[in-house]
């Protein structure tokens, strides 16, 4: 997550991108939509707007060369998948006519409808889609940033270099060592993911360094998702290997002593994986669309348009969740299509679909070969003007299975293909 120098930008094909920059509206297109962010939300929105109305010009601003998926990244930590397995290029979005600009959005002027880019130039828009995912709030964790810079603590909560680095640390850890996994208060990106991570690291320890231990220190009063399924898997598959402590909020990291400071005690570990509290990605605040607790962006669920700034839509993990709606890749992808449909209707002077629905399908591996799922359907509640889970249409697997692991891998292949072309 870094900016690129001008020289690097040009070397990476910036010349083509620069030709797209500038305030003037391009001729021919009936409207221009700019998308900031090329994750599950942003890439899907860009693709589906073009799929449903090829007359709309779509520019997607993304600073990374390839997408690295958080879903399935815990399999990399366990040693069951490699980094290339969880990465996808953006080239195929060009088949849909999405114009990709490899750059970083620095600022948004909602009044003038302009996005300022790091490498120079402004992009004008008719509608802007802000899909920045999360950034971290390190302010409640003393010593974290220095410890992270020294490689003594990692979050690996944005899949990428930290995923590879954490895997290396787990491989290098002595047999008999302690892996400390600290979970922040909900809401955070992907509620069940810490417990999936604990399961797959435990599976690796069981096979490669059986005297080691996974210590989960969770700020929450209990496991935040799929609790009974994880607890059963841990007692059946990894007896004595995983220790779970609830109500254990991290407040600091002491790199020198390899310690995580909790409110109530300190815990020592060989590998420290502390997941910080999160908020909407930084560009959301710069665009003025953060509305709630300085963290999340409230939106109109019929269009995903910001309640704070007109003509800016916000998607995915950055949104203020509707009731009982987690921050998941499936929902980011589904919200993007709701938004794409609404943007196409609005640009064509028609009202958006008044009864949208969203699906969440969320898989977690509890061992390298077995998974569990949680599924839900959300529908528009006209009275409360929000999305609600539909009664009876939500729930989890009754038990872990190999079939669910196959389904999880099929889900990954299909959502990656659906989001990235």
């Amino acid at each position: 997550m870094r900016a690129f120098s001008r020289r690097e930008f040009l070397r990476l094909g910036g010349a083509a991108a620069l030709s797209l920059a500038g305030c003037a509206r391009t001729t021919g297109g009936k409207a221009r939509v700019v998308v900031i962010g090329g994750g599950f939300a942003g890439a899907t929105a860009a693709k589906y707007i073009r799929l449903w109305d090829p007359g709309i010009e779509v520019l997607m601003v993304e600073r990374e060369a390839v997408f690295t998926s958080c879903p399935m990244s815990n399999l990399v930590l366990g040693g069951y998948k490699s980094m290339p397995d969880i990465q996808r290029g953006y080239q195929r979005l060009a088949d849909y006519g999405v114009q990709r600009i490899r750059d970083e959005a620095l600022a948004v002027d909602g009044a003038k409808k302009l996005v300022k880019l790091a490498c120079g130039g402004d992009l004008s828009y008719d509608r802007l889609i802000v899909a920045p995912g999360i950034d971290f709030d390190f302010s409640e964790l003393d010593g974290y940033q220095a410890a992270m810079a020294a490689g003594r603590v990692l979050h690996a909560w944005k899949a990428g270099p930290q995923t590879a680095a954490l895997r290396k640390q787990l491989e290098a850890m002595r047999d008999g060592g302690v892996y400390v996994l600290s979970v922040p208060f909900a809401p955070y990106r992907c509620l069940p993911a810490p417990y999936e991570r604990a399961s797959l690291v435990a599976a690796y320890f069981k096979q490669a360094k059986p005297r080691s231990k996974v210590l989960i220190v969770d700020a929450n009063p209990e496991i935040t998702s799929k609790g009974p399924l994880f607890l059963r898997a841990w007692s059946d598959l990894y007896p004595g290997l995983i220790e779970y402590r609830a109500n254990s909020k991290a407040i600091g990291v002491d790199a020198k002593n390899s310690v995580v400071n909790l409110e109530v005690e300190d815990v020592k570990g060989d590998v420290l994986n502390v997941i910080p509290p999160q908020r909407a990605g930084d560009i959301a605040a710069k665009a003025g669309v953060v509305t709630t607790n300085n963290r999340w962006c409230d939106i109109d669920w019929l269009t995903m348009e910001s309640k704070a700034v007109k003509n800016i839509h916000v998607l995915g993990d950055a949104t203020l969740a509707a009731p009982a709606m987690p921050k998941s890749g499936s929902l980011a992808n589904n919200q993007a299509k709701l938004c794409a449909a609404a943007v196409v209707e609005l640009i064509n002077g028609r009202p958006p679909d008044p009864r949208p629905k969203l699906i969440n399908a969320c898989y977690s591996f509890v061992s390298p070969g077995e998974a569990v799922h949680l599924a839900a359907v959300y529908g528009w509640d006209a009275g409360e003007r929000t999305m609600h889970p539909i009664k009876g249409a939500g729930g989890t697997s009754s038990e872990r299975s190999e079939l669910e692991a196959k389904n999880a891998l099929a889900w990954a292949q299909n959502i990656w293909a659906d989001s990235f072309g």
């Binding site: 849909y96 629905k357 699906i359 539909i390 099929a410 299909n414 659906d418």
Partner: protein
């Protein structure tokens, strides 16, 4: 990319005023399925493609998932999130797409 005539075909293939749904509604509802069944119902692997499936077949399957008559994993829950009219609109949309 799907040629433009397919979309036209999809819209035309819908019974006019079927359960108060229009073509765009079926398309929007069906788009949610792509996370497991692929863009426009063309699976990228591992799960069934829905594009080109006869409407009656998809309606029967979804209704059997919903009633519990057909064993399922995630579809056991997801099928319960849709009304008969919505299932009809989704099935009509996929049926009108080429395989």
């Amino acid at each position: 990319m799907r040629p433009a005539w397919l979309l036209t075909a999809a819209l035309l293939a819908l019974p006019i005023g079927a359960a108060g749904q229009d073509g765009a509604r079926g398309r929007h509802l069906a788009a949610a399925c792509a996370i497991c069944h692929g863009t426009e119902g063309r699976s990228a692997g591992g799960n069934k493609s829905l594009a080109g499936m006869p409407a009656a077949e998809l309606i029967r399957k979804l209704q059997e998932f919903r009633s519990g008559a057909k064993p399922a994993t995630a579809m056991l829950q997801i099928s319960k999130g849709y009304s008969d009219a919505e299932i009809d609109a989704i099935a009509a949309y996929f049926a009108a797409l080429g395989k």
